[in-house]
């Protein structure tokens, strides 16, 4: 037992490696949230009148809404009036290419292991780096624009492609959707915009990297991905934040639109600061992510590796509207110390012959709580809908919890829906087997956890899979239940 304790001790004392912050000169909105704040943000970003009207409408909607209470998470009430809704690094003028970007900012990303310069040359991934409220740099723009692909920050898209933004903004996640989506609609500061024209296969992975740096700031970014008919794109998202004693709020919205025969693959490695081992600080991650398979034969695939955040509240969903469309959800959620995660997905089958697949792997350690909450809904006209869901939980330590809340609503007799869930700990026989073959307990646990999560990790693009595997190992190495 003492060895277990020692290993657990090591695990729980593992420091958050992205916990530093940098002092740069920032342009910040005044504290508090009123109509004026929204006007301030809108003016700052030189937005057109229609967008300001849209924001104000969202704000009105939000004011009439209440914070949702149904999730299986507990946290003190967030005082939204004490937050700053905009924080941007001061730059003299908008950089035209990476060489003009403030080296201090580039350095931040270098420390995160994302060298924008290097990536520009080597890896073939286009990156949009978002620091606090604004997009800092976007790489590979030229190459992409030759194909007609638009990949830029949201504010740029508003200026350069207003017709696209106007058409798709709020079409998948309406401002009235929920409390945090409405809040985001009112105050979103930046984010990424991606448009793949008809018949184009995006030649490289598109990637956004989010970083919260400033204190007492909420981050509200908005991502909009539009894949026209017969196009393909793979999109990556990563996030980190500095280690601070107070909790920070992150309320993002991601919308995906997939036309006929289009395929969108969205991968996230979420590593926001989870709070220290006493449960102090950390990010509140309240995110609304939804994709619509609008055209026939379209496909949206969500893959997420959730290791960070003090409280996570996130349900990437698919609306399978087009006939024969496919929705997928692969998730590994790891919680440790006092982290709480309530995450899952929604698959809404509307079209005929629609298929969905859910694979959710939860790992809880320390005193954390990990919940899967998902819904599979087969509408009346969705004949021959097919769903398979699997949600497994792995428990490490006797103070943690794993919960499953699946909702399955079937309105059509031809639907075939299967759901299965298991909860267990790492078997002593498995560990013994490894030990016997000369594999140390620590390595054996890493091995078993990796094997457990493999089905999901396999879905990640190469570059992310490495990072995700490292993250898993870091958080859970040697934790014996």
């Amino acid at each position: 037992m003492s060895k277990d304790n020692q290993i657990l001790e090591e695990l729980t004392s593992k420091e958050y490696e992205h916990g530093w912050s940098v002092n740069y000169e920032a342009d910040e909105a005044p504290v508090g949230l009123t109509e004026d704040t929204i006007r301030w943000i809108s003016t700052k970003k030189e937005e057109p009148q229609w967008l300001l009207d849209w924001r104000l409408k969202a704000f009105k909607t939000w004011e009439a809404m209440y914070e949702p209470k149904w999730a299986n998470v507990h946290y003190p009430k967030i005082d939204l009036q004490s937050l700053k809704y905009y924080s941007a690094p001061k730059q003299a003028s908008k950089p035209k290419n990476l060489d003009e970007v403030d080296p201090e900012l580039l350095d931040i990303y270098k420390r995160l292991g994302i060298n924008l310069n290097e990536q520009k040359r080597l890896q073939g991934i286009a990156v949009d780096a978002v620091l606090d409220s604004v997009s800092v740099a976007t790489t590979f723009k030229g190459t992409l624009s030759k194909l007609g692909i638009v990949f830029c920050s949201f504010s740029e898209a508003v200026k350069e492609h207003p017709e696209l933004v106007k058409k798709y903004l709020g079409s998948v996640v309406p401002m009235t959707d929920n409390y945090y989506a409405a809040l985001n609609s009112a105050v979103f500061s930046d984010g990424s915009f991606c448009y793949i024209p008809k018949g184009v296969r995006c030649p490289m992975e598109l990637s956004t990297y989010f970083r919260i740096n400033a204190a007492n700031t909420g981050q509200f970014e908005r991502t909009l991905i539009v894949a026209e008919d017969e196009s393909y794109v793979s999109y990556l998202e990563g996030c980190t934040a500095p280690q601070r004693d107070e909790n920070q709020l992150h309320a993002a919205v991601v919308e995906i639109y997939a036309g006929a025969h289009a395929e969108v693959k969205y991968s996230t490695v979420q590593n926001w600061f989870p709070g220290d081992k006493e449960g102090k600080g950390g990010i509140y991650n309240f995110v609304t992510k939804r994709g619509i398979c609008a055209g026939d034969f379209s496909k949206i695939s969500w893959t997420q590796v959730e290791t960070g955040s003090a409280v996570t509240w996130k349900y990437p969903s698919c609306i399978l509207k087009g006939d024969n469309s496919i929705g997928e959800f692969y998730s590994v959620a790891v919680t440790n110390n006092y982290q709480q995660a309530d995450t899952g997905t929604k698959m809404i089958h509307i079209g005929k012959n629609t298929k969905s697949r859910i694979v959710s792997k939860g790992i809880s350690a320390g005193k954390s709580q990990n919940s899967y909450r998902g819904q599979v809904q087969v509408m009346k006209r969705a004949t021959n809908a097919r769903n398979f869901s699997q949600c497994d939980s792995l428990l490490m330590g006797d103070r943690c919890g794993a919960h499953t809340f699946p909702y399955i609503d079937i309105n059509n007799p031809t639907a075939k829906v299967e759901h299965e869930a298991t909860t267990s700990k790492i078997g002593e026989d498995q560990l013994f087997y490894c030990n016997q073959r000369g594999i140390a307990t620590e390595d054996a646990v890493a091995l078993i956890v990796n094997g457990y999560a493999k089905e999901v990790l396999n879905q990640l693009p190469m570059e992310f899979a490495v990072e995700a595997q490292k993250l898993l190992a870091l958080t859970l190495e040697g934790s014996v239940g």
Binding site: C400, T404, I408, I410
Partner: protein, 422 residues
């Protein structure tokens, strides 16, 4: 918001409720007033709009009261070949004259047992209907199975319901068993009136050490029945509890089955079958609370839904922090036979201990085309083949009924319904 004003109903109900249990009734009343009728916002009643149904059908909310039952009626409703004992109830009132005297078992009117700890197992603060029953139950029976009593014959609880439109029947049953006792109960209800009425029944079962309790329930009260039926039991060390719930009809039926596992090396088994047609709506809510280590629970609920019926299943396995080495298993399978049938299922796990094995599975689909083809290829007509396959599907639940005559009776009803009797 509800037009049923909770205060008024209670006053009316309490006006003609039985004597005794003042404290218990007050506690129930208070618990009900805090909770009120469930709205469509309450998670536990999300898919079962019972309040709306009550508003539409139950206007005056008066107790139905006792009535005369004849020996012929009793005889006509006992299953063929049944050899066990029979206890007869009319709208929840116990009729000793028509009932068997069971050797070694104490059966009494609840009003004669004023010190019964009603509400200690079926806690009123957990569910509004449980509280409503506690505040104004009518009649009621007390059954005590002594220590080491091994009852070979089952006890049939034969309930007759007769009420005018809009009336309320609130039966209450208290069962306690001594250590090492073994007993089987069969609950069967007969509806004597066509009018829509509301039955709100609570059965509390107090287990002892190493007791073996079986509780079977058949619901076939016709298409007008609005019923909430709560069965709560605690399982002590080495105890076994096994239940089978068969639902065949009902305008709106809600079954709450709650097991609290309080002693280790014990086992809880719950089986259910809902076979619905017309506009029937049956909602099965089960809850297993594992509070101690080394216990096991199994659950299997199956549904076949035809016409525009609706089946709701919500199974919850709750494993507390101390309940290490728990094995819990839960399964729910549904077959939809028509375009308008609906299934809402939510198999839920809440696990706070790490050294456990818990799993659940849930499927919804149609009959296997290949199996159907196989039978047809061997000269069995399509309808018969269908019936056969459906019966095989349902049989997995029925086979857990140990009393032969009751099993035969259920099987016959099921086969008749499925058209698989030939």
């Amino acid at each position: 918001m509800s037009t049923l004003i909770k205060q008024d109903i209670l006053v009316e109900l309490l006006g003609n409720a039985g004597n005794g249990f003042e404290q218990v009734r007050t506690a129930g009343k208070e618990a009900f007033q805090t909770q009120g009728f469930p709205t469509n916002k309450s998670e536990e009643y999300k898919f079962t709009a019972i309040t709306k149904k009550l508003e539409q059908n139950i206007q005056n909310f008066a107790q139905a009261g006792d009535f005369e039952v004849t020996a012929e009626q009793v005889k006509a409703n006992v299953f063929e070949g049944y050899l066990g004992d029979v206890l007869v109830f009319a709208n929840g009132h116990f009729h000793p004259a028509l009932s068997s005297t069971i050797e070694g078992v104490e059966v009494a009117l609840l009003s004669e047992k004023a010190d019964t700890a009603l509400g200690s197992i079926a806690k009123p603060e957990k569910d509004p209907f449980c509280a409503l029953n506690q505040s104004a139950f009518e009649g009621g029976v007390y059954i005590s199975v002594p220590k080491k009593a091994q009852l070979q014959k089952p006890i049939l609880l034969l309930n007759f319901f007769k009420a005018n439109a809009g009336q309320v029947i609130q039966p209450r049953v208290w069962i306690q068993t001594g250590d090492f006792a073994e007993v089987t109960f069969i609950n069967h209800s007969i509806n004597l009136s066509e009018a829509p009425y509301f039955v709100n029944k609570v059965v509390e079962i107090k287990g002892g050490l190493n007791t073996q309790i079986r509780y079977y329930k058949l619901q076939d009260e016709g298409k007008n029945a609005i019923e909430v039926s709560t069965v709560e039991t605690d399982i002590q060390q080495d105890g076994r509890f096994s239940s089978v719930t068969v639902s065949l009809s009902g305008e709106l039926v809600r079954n709450n089955l709650n097991l609290s596992i309080l002693g280790s090396n014990s086992e809880g088994n719950m089986y259910g079958l809902y076979l619905l047609n017309g506009k029937s709506h049956v909602d099965n809510h089960t809850n297993v609370d594992h509070t101690v280590p080394h216990a096991e629970s199994n659950e299997l609920y199956k549904g076949i839904l035809a016409d525009s019926s609706r089946g709701v299943f919500n199974g919850k396995i709750f494993v507390r922090q101390d309940a290490q080495k728990t094995n819990a298993f839960q399964q729910n399978n549904n077959i939809l036979l028509s375009d308008d049938a609906v299934v809402n299922t939510k198999p839920q796990l809440e696990i706070w201990a790490d050294d456990v094995k818990c799993s659940h599975g849930c499927t919804t689909g149609q009959l296997d085309e290949e199996a159907l083809f196989y039978l047809q290829a061997r000269g069995i007509a399509k309808d018969q083949a269908k019936g056969l396959l459906l019966y095989a599907f349902a049989g997995e639940v029925l086979e857990h009924i140990t009393d032969e005559s009751f099993r035969e009776y259920c099987t016959e009803l099921v086969q008749k319904r499925l058209g698989s009797k030939f």
